[in-house]
């Protein structure tokens, strides 16, 4: 199976499988989650590092992933240090094409399939239902493991939980009651990673102004 980046995984988790589109409810924070996933992946790949004041490039060697390399280049050439929250806000703003970009590459990888749909004779849309759903199930299984086995999570799973919590994607595995019970552990885990906290902060500001979802941390 192709290795999915965290940006790929959060798009898979934000997808409404039955219609092959991102859930309308997640759209306000979709770009924030995707860009957060990109920064997280670059951090795990040893290209970025951060502290409480700034996010910065530590290795500008291209990764071979065009989306990741574009972001890495922008951060590496910045002459002014900025915190992770600033980069997430800036890089996710005015990027309406970003979700489609990830959906397209997931379709090219054979994880989603393209379905062109036409309505009212002349309007057409493209949907991306999953081929097998295996990737989503695998991601949800990892999140379930992190939440319920009470052990120290691996960095990648910690970061994925941060994205899932910020977008409300955890509703796929947790009822409202279970979400309330798990909230303290989710918050504790999300805190562990600086970029996870940054995604949570930026998404929280958006939800504060655009209406609530069941968001934690």
């Amino acid at each position: 199976m192709r290795h999915l980046t965290l940006a790929d995984e959060i798009v898979v988790l934000m997808l409404d499988d039955s219609v092959g589109e991102l859930k309308p409810a997640v759209m306000p924070v979709a770009n924030v989650a995707i860009m957060g996933g990109v920064l997280m992946e670059l951090s795990l790949m040893g290209r970025l590092d951060s502290d409480l004041q700034a996010l910065f490039a530590v290795d500008t060697t291209p990764t071979g992933d065009s989306l990741l390399d574009d972001v890495l280049s922008q951060i590496a050439t910045s002459t002014v240090p900025h915190p992770s929250t600033w980069w997430i806000e800036t890089l996710s703003r005015n990027r309406a094409e970003l979700p489609e970009q990830i959906l397209e590459r997931l379709a090219t990888a054979g994880i989603l399939r393209r379905e062109d749909r036409r309505f009212l004779w002349f309007f057409s849309t493209r949907a991306y239902p999953p081929v097998s759903g295996q990737e989503e199930q695998e991601a949800l299984a990892r999140l379930t493991e992190v939440l319920f086995n009470n052990q120290t999570p691996a960095p990648r799973d910690t970061l994925l939980l941060g994205l899932a919590a910020a977008t409300g994607a955890l509703e796929k595995i947790l009822s409202d009651h279970a979400m309330a019970q798990a909230a303290p552990r989710i918050a504790d885990i999300v805190r562990l990673e600086e970029i996870g906290r940054a995604v949570s902060t930026v998404a929280g500001l958006i939800w504060d102004t655009q209406g609530p979802a069941t968001i934690i941390a």
Partner: protein, 116 residues
Amino acid sequence: MDITSHIEAGLATLTLDGRLDFATSRVLEKAAADILDGGTHRILIDMAAVPYVSSAGLRAILVAAKAAQATGGGIAIHGLQPMVADVFITSGFGQIVILAETGAEARDRLLAGKAA
């Protein structure tokens, strides 16, 4: 970063000197992995001479703590400088490792097996 390692009576002590960031985090990861692979599962880390810790540095500690806990052991850290302590507190690392003021307290809590 310089790391010195000492193992005695089932307890490993790592003394760090220098910045713990992306460039040095793998040195710590390897030092901790070597100790765990050698059969010692409790690690005491003296960070009194560490003036800076980045996200990559924290992640190295997270990885080491996960590996130590998987074998029934754990990690205790002491001597944090104020700015470094801020990083640990903001990140909630007190839930992952034992954070203590002194080496003696860290050692006692680690040997007692008390949760972080």
